[in-house]
């Protein structure tokens, strides 16, 4: 083993080791930067009607929009980086009562009007059994 390192060290200077180390560090840094592009999310709320995307709302911009679905009007409000459903038709009002969402991976689902609002990203939860 010692013989091996002696041979290697005859050709590699300590500068070479630094360069090799830098290549590895650079690779690790690049990978960790590229790995989770979605986690930078949380800036947008995606609004879908019957599964098709109809709006992309930046959470940085306060506004209120109305989506016309099969059961009526769903009013969606963005305020201070959060989003909620103010009004939506249907007897149970589940999505209205869910209140504000703001973290990546959170979603509001208005079943009667077939509207979903999702902040893309990974919350650590893949689904909710309900």
């Amino acid at each position: 083993m010692n013989e091996f390192w002696r041979t290697v060290n005859r050709y590699l200077t300590w500068g070479d080791y630094i360069v090799i180390g830098l290549v590895f560090l650079g690779a690790a840094a690049t990978v960790s930067l590229l790995r989770r592009p979605v986690e930078a999310g949380g800036q947008w709320a995606l609004v879908r009607l019957e599964g098709k995307m109809v709006e992309q709302l930046p959470l940085t911009e306060d506004r209120e929009i109305t989506i016309i679905g099969p059961a009526g009007e769903t009013v969606i409000q963005v305020h201070a980086g959060r989003v909620r459903v103010v009004e939506s038709p249907g007897p149970q009002q589940v999505c209205v009562r869910q209140g504000w969402i703001q973290k990546p991976g959170e979603a509001l689902i208005c079943v009667p009007n077939r509207v979903t609002i999702e902040i893309p990203g990974n919350s650590g939860i893949d689904a909710i059994s309900r």
Binding site: T30, Q92, P112, R114, I125, D126, A127, I128, S129, R130
Partner: protein, 366 residues
């Protein structure tokens, strides 16, 4: 000599850098997600594969199958189940392969649960107003004993002829409602299609009826990025909370039956109020999980979550256990292999089957 060594060094470094880039991209995967409104709920598929194209094709094929089956299992639709419900008490009706498969399974769970799970109660469920378009109309009513009595007294049964592939109903009081099983069957069929497509992993969620599979973990040479699916269980009294999160490593299905899913409130004067997760003081909750023996909403539990190998088992058993109540329900779960459950009693206690002893859930509803 010196120059040769420098050239070799630069070459070696280049190869090193390139192989790092290669290793990184070799571990790259595509995640394809899509959702559609089906069966009165959101049907969501999330699939992961090395090949985006393959994942997209698989998800599309899966949705086509789900749409076809949704029509097939509609209680009143144009499929063979709708046909059976319209004429099945007069003459045998030809049934599709899928409907027959589910009939056989339904019969099994009916016997296993001593009638707590019973698909013949379509008319009982309707008499409470829990019809197929509940999510739109959603007006419940408390049926009078005169309405319920004949439906309870008539023999409600069905017979399936596997040779002629036909089915028949025992009386006009019978309407087959596969609400507590068909969604699970459809999820299983969809998962079968995704599995044939050689995906790494996938999650199918039909409004809380969930099945996942993990064929291959994301792999970078010898290093495996193993990650469980993390599935939360809904808090039955608060839209904004969950009871806890389960880490699912293997192929598994989950289904929840709760008294908050389809319900209404009535006060002593008979006024009807819309469904809410939270209880309303002074009002009685009536929900859609009807006890086939009494014709009334089952009492004792407010939420049951079943873990099972297939979504159909989870779906049918969550209904069965809900109707059986805490003691008999837990007994049934313990008798069955590979089945676990989490339930919440009407006294807000959270019970788990022994196989889930080490999961971290509260013992009281927070």
């Amino acid at each position: 000599m010196r120059q040769t060594i420098s050239v070799l060094k630069i070459l070696a470094l280049g190869i090193l850098a390139l192989s790092l880039v290669f290793i990184y991209f070799q571990g790259q995967v595509a995640v394809v997600q899509d959702e559609k409104y089906l069966l009165g709920t959101y049907f969501r598929i999330k699939a992961q594969s090395r090949s985006r194209e393959r994942a997209e094709r698989a998800v599309q094929a899966a949705f086509e199958e789900a749409e076809r089956l949704a029509e097939e299992f509609s209680r009143t639709g144009a499929g063979s189940l709708g046909e059976l419900n319209r004429r099945g008490f007069q003459e045998p009706v030809k049934l599709s392969e899928d409907v027959i498969t589910v009939f056989e399974a339904a019969q099994k769970y009916r016997e296993l649960s001593h009638g707590a799970f019973d698909p013949t109660i379509g008319k009982l469920v309707d008499s409470w107003g829990f019809t197929q378009d509940w999510d739109r109309t959603g007006v419940g009513r408390v049926p009078s004993p005169e309405v319920l009595r004949p439906l309870l007294e008539d023999t409600r049964d069905f017979s399936i002829d596997l040779v002629t592939k036909t089915g028949q109903l025992s009386s006009a009081s019978v309407e087959i409602d596969f609400g507590g099983i068909a969604k699970g069957y459809i999820v299983d069929r969809v998962v079968a299609i995704l599995q044939e497509s050689d995906l790494d992993n996938a999650l199918v969620d039909a409004g809380g009826n969930i099945r996942v599979f993990n064929s291959y973990p994301r792999r970078v040479l010898w290093w495996e990025d193993r990650r469980p699916f993390r599935i939360a269980v809904q808090h039955p009294r608060d839209e904004q909370k969950v009871l806890g999160v389960l880490a699912i490593w293997e192929d598994r299905a989950l289904a929840t039956s709760g008294d908050y899913q389809r319900c209404f409130f009535a006060d002593v004067l008979g006024n009807i109020f819309p469904c809410r997760y939270a209880d309303e003081p002074g009002k009685t909750r009536y929900h859609h999980i009807i006890d086939p023996k009494t014709g009334m909403p089952a009492r004792g539990l407010i939420s049951v979550t079943i873990l099972a190998p297939t979504a159909m088992e989870a779906d049918a058993l969550s209904t069965a256990v809900f109707v059986l109540g805490p003691e008999k329900g837990l007994e049934l779960v313990e008798r069955l292999e590979n089945i676990e459950c989490i339930m919440v009693t009407d006294e807000r206690r959270i019970l788990k089957s022994p196989g889930l002893a080490d999961i971290n859930f509260p013992t009281e509803l927070p």
